[in-house]
Symmetry: C2
């Protein structure tokens, strides 16, 4: 597809290019445009009809938005901005540098501009910041026939009409009526009678993570957002939530390894920016390792006598780190999807101690057999290493089980705060245990 | 809510309980039932009307399914199974132990049973295994009026009617017509004229990860699935995809730390099962650490003379491991969402080398200042550790950048195979570099 576009651009065959684009999905066109250089991108964008152009614009990434905005005139900006849904408009504006925002807002009629400014004030990660106002509202007392006529009249301007919302004269949310309900009901029926009044709803400050959970749990397509007086102020549709979930996943994975969420895709982020995002975490961990260093320093004389012990430090620390991060992954995940509750802390702890004993003894046995029989390490050293292994796994699992709960209680994000701490704690305890056990078994 | 249910169960006040349940969402009722003991679960389930019961059943987890199935009679099973959508039926059956499956299939009419068996044969993680057959089909040549009448007649039995599918006489997929399109069109218009013919579609063997991407990319609510002859065989709806994405996220995170995907929620999985899932990965890593041990063994005499060097091993290995896993996270993620392509390997490598140099020099500088000025470590040792740090970060980023591509090329899951390898490689190289640099600077 992209090759064909390149070919037609090379041949300056804009007629065929226009026909080709007319058959493509807006999401695909946006992707193609993002891969072209600025001049070609503008050229292709201008070949689209105005309506398709607005749709394609909504699918583009930030950099392409800037490329396009730099090259189109005020009238074109005005058309674009008045033909995007409110949630897309707010989304695009909130990502752009200030000078572009000024230029865009200048080209938007005052009432809409006020609304946009209002929406921009909702904190990130709240329902208010991702909702849109183009919902289909029905009035209390309407008949089904009247409701369908209203849908016919306004559907084009709405983000969805599959779910319509029944409001009273004060715009309070009374219930939900699906388009299917309307089709199946008799024309003279009152919409009040067919509305579902137990509507799943959010308020403007509901956290987006919670919203994603509501969509998954209740298998809904659209979620009404109300203010403190239960007045409908917007809706969130499932397509925006899918995007949200994808972003959250990527953020969550990023947080666990200290790679701060990328505002831009990896390939478009500079090495400098990537390094900046990653370095704090690495620095904190590097300094945290000082504790291990000091412990080893304390046992320096002992280590000189038994320098063979140094060889097993990597294995002990790695195993501790790995089993700790396994536990953290399981618990953070469980807490995030509410499968594990705050009150489960002792159950989780008990379970992880059991897991640690099972894993610890198995690994220790395997390790002992390997060292003593395969590598001909002395009995006492083999025993020291194997016993330390059990202790290390135990301390890793215990810290891995408790710390996510502590972080959650302290209202910190477990994924961010726990991993660095675990490494530091486990390393220090593993090494301390190692030398203590060694001294006990080997003497000095 | 759950407390209220407990109270009413305690008071044996089943009338109020029934009223309370009647107002609840099926997803919430399923959650409540899963927290009751077996007897109460059955009691509450029986208080539901038959139709709500079937809906609630679809939302339950595996263990609750078993509890219910053990306590209801053949007739009730038959009612349940004939009132679930095909995708839910297949999903439930594929999770149950064999004896339950036999009992369920016995209570399903032959034609439906054949279909279920057919569906069960699609490999896991393919479109065929998650699609459902309750789609709304329209025939070529129908008028809009006829189409709406058809929707009215069959809507109740369909998973969705928001998207209807236009088929020719051989059931080949011609196009898609939304319910909104039907409402907006004139009664006498032919559906052929209003159908969207560029339908986004999948085939039965399309991978579920790809399907999730299609939903996000194209912002669609429903995806038709066709066979090799373009005949419509099923649809996948967005609610099932949301569930899928949640599962995939948790699997992906699990794979990166070797905690095999849990079939059951954490709290319901035994310590033995958890340990079993985790141990292989730990064992492999433990054995991998032998390489580091052997390298340290080689330098044992040297280490005896400079035992102070042992103290910095944890910091070097941790930093290497951390920066490596940061790179892996970014690249695996980028590859998974197709933002990074196989052909980008050299660009990625170059970028990660740049990132490594930026991070490496910064960390080395910070480390040198800390060791030399704050901890009064000798100049040569401070230099040795700091130089090794640069090398370690470099090797971590290089392996972290290349290995995901290699794994992908070998058709292995990068998230599973790469992390253990990285730890082993980075540890070994870091330690080797450490001693080589030390010998150079400190002499022997």
């Amino acid at each position: 597809m992209i090759e064909k576009v390149f070919d037609l651009l090379g041949e300056k065959n804009y007629k065929d290019l226009k026909d080709l684009l007319a058959e493509e999905n807006p999401a695909d066109i946006a992707e193609i445009i993002s891969e072209l250089d600025e001049n070609d991108a503008i050229l292709v964008f201008r070949l689209l009809t105005k309506d398709v152009g607005a749709e394609v614009f909504a699918f583009m990434d930030k950099d392409t938005h800037i490329d396009i905005l730099e090259n189109i005139n005020e009238e074109e900006i005005s058309y674009l901005m008045n033909n995007l849904f409110m949630d897309d408009t707010v989304d695009i504006i909130s990502e752009l540098p200030a000078n572009y925002v000024t230029r865009i807002l200048k080209n938007i009629p005052e009432d809409r501009r006020k609304l946009i400014n209002h929406f921009l004030q909702y904190p990130e990660d709240t329902a208010g910041s991702i909702m849109t106002i183009e919902y289909m509202d029905l009035k209390l007392g309407m008949t089904v026939k009247e409701a369908i006529d209203r849908v016919k009249q306004f559907a084009v301007k709405k983000e969805t009409v599959n779910n319509c919302y029944l409001l009273d004269e004060k715009r309070k949310l009374i219930g939900e009526v699906t388009l299917k309900d309307l089709i199946l009901a008799e024309d003279i029926e009152l919409v009040n009678n067919i509305a579902n009044e137990d509507v799943i709803k959010a308020n403007t400050m509901t956290d987006t993570a919670e919203i994603a959970q509501m969509f998954t749990k209740y298998a809904i397509l659209s979620l009404p957002v109300v203010d403190a007086e239960n007045r409908l102020v917007g809706i969130i549709t499932v397509d925006d939530v899918m995007e949200l979930i994808e972003e959250e996943t990527s953020e969550e994975m990023g947080r666990m390894t200290g790679t701060a969420p990328l505002e831009n895709p990896y390939m478009k982020t500079s090495a400098f920016k990537l390094a900046k995002n990653r370095i704090i975490w690495l620095l904190v961990l590097m300094i945290g390792a000082t504790i291990s260093q000091l412990i080893i320093g304390k046992y320096e004389d002992f280590l000189t006598s038994y320098v063979v012990l140094a060889g097993f430090m990597p294995m002990l620390m790695d195993t501790g780190g790995n089993t700790g991060s396994q536990t953290v992954t399981l618990i953070v995940r469980g807490l995030a999807i509410n499968e594990i509750k705050a009150s489960d802390v002792f159950k989780v702890l008990l379970k992880e101690v059991n897991v640690a004993l099972l894993i610890g003894f198995s690994l220790a046995l395997a390790n002992f057999l390997k060292l003593f029989y395969l590598q001909n390490i002395s009995l006492k050293v083999s025993l020291t290493v194997s016993l330390t292994l059990i202790f290390t796994v135990l301390i890793s699992n215990i810290s891995g089980a408790i710390l996510p709960f502590v972080a959650r209680n302290a209202k910190m994000d477990p994924a961010v705060s726990v991993s660095p701490l675990i490494t530091t704690i486990v390393d220090a305890f593993a090494i301390l245990a190692y030398f203590m056990i060694a001294r006990l078994l080997l003497g000095f």
